[in-house]
């Protein structure tokens, strides 16, 4: 597959388009409705399994594209692919996932849908998002060394 790179001027704006597309996907899927998320997690009660299909659709598309792109030397508009560097399952991963899951179940929000709902100015997002940013800030204050993990600039851990 050959793709012609878009001119750099127009290409600058592409992430805006991706954000819009991502927001539309979250809205169409129902992920932006906290009651729907809570019903999805209510496996032991009145379970609504719909949101499992969001994962099927999103993971399916991403897996196919990612495999096809594995041979590309670099992305179309950047010098290199920023592969995630940490590779170990450790206590931080497990503890973080537990804390996140508890907050997700308590509120019905995870970060993406919360930001979209903030754009829609829902009352729930107006409470949730500032608290979420505070939580991120507290973490990054407590562990400054881990700050750069997400932008691919951190020194790789042991392979």
């Amino acid at each position: 597959m050959r793709l012609r790179p878009v001119g750099p001027r127009a290409a600058r704006w592409l992430p805006l388009l991706y954000g819009l597309l991502f927001a539309l996907g979250l809205a169409v899927s129902g992920m932006v409705q906290p009651e729907k998320v809570i019903a999805f997690l209510d496996v032991l009660g009145d379970w609504d399994a719909s949101l499992a299909f969001v994962m099927v659709g999103a993971i399916g598309v991403y897996a196919v594209v990612w495999r096809r792109l594995a041979r590309w030397p670099r992305p179309l508009l950047a010098a290199r692919f920023s592969h995630p560097t940490p590779t170990r399952v450790d206590g931080r991963l497990i503890a973080g996932a537990i804390i996140f899951g508890v907050g997700w179940g308590a509120s019905g929000f995870c970060p993406g849908p919360a930001v979209v709902a903030l754009g829609a100015a829902t009352r729930a997002a107006a409470w949730f998002v500032p608290a979420m940013l505070a939580g991120m800030w507290i973490h990054d204050r407590a562990w400054p060394a881990s700050r750069a993990t997400h932008d691919g600039r951190r020194k790789p851990l042991r392979p």
Binding site: L16, R92, G103, V116
Partner: protein, 145 residues
């Protein structure tokens, strides 16, 4: 609380989410993890800051447009109190940074790459979410009339 089963809408939404994430990988070589993108704006500079801000502007602007064109997309009133939303927000912000990812970074991109870390994180946060909702429901039923 009861919500209706909408597998096709969920699947279609998932395809859009996966497409947006895949495009970001193809052009910018970046993982579309919302936690990482948001947390990154506080320290990124130059071009690295620009794409993050544009992506987040797309999420916010998309929310605004959808609320205008299709207000029902955001559902009825949030089922949780302000206290639960604030406590939940703190936990989600802290936990996603500690785990280095959330539903998008680990749950979609990481699982699709068959990353062991992401698969473990996804199983753990799903289980913690399910347990939390089960316990909350019990407490709410217990506190009822």
């Amino acid at each position: 609380m009861h919500t209706s089963f909408t597998p096709l809408a969920a699947l279609a939404g998932g395809v859009l989410i996966g497409s947006a994430a895949a495009l970001l990988w193809a052009t910018h070589g970046r993982i579309a993890g919302i936690t990482g993108i948001v947390a990154g704006i506080f320290r990124a500079r130059g071009a690295d800051l620009e794409w993050r801000l544009l992506f987040i502007a797309g999420l916010l602007g998309g929310g605004r447009l959808i609320a205008w064109a299709w207000p029902a997309a955001f559902g009825a009133r949030a089922p949780r109190s302000a206290l639960a939303l604030v406590a939940g927000g703190l936990l989600v912000g802290f936990g996603t940074r500690l785990a280095n990812g959330c539903t998008s970074g680990h749950g979609v991109c990481g699982v699709a790459r068959l990353s062991v870390r992401s698969i473990v994180a996804t199983v753990v946060f799903m289980a913690a979410g399910i347990a939390t909702v089960a316990i909350t429901r019990r407490l709410m039923v217990g506190a009822g009339p």
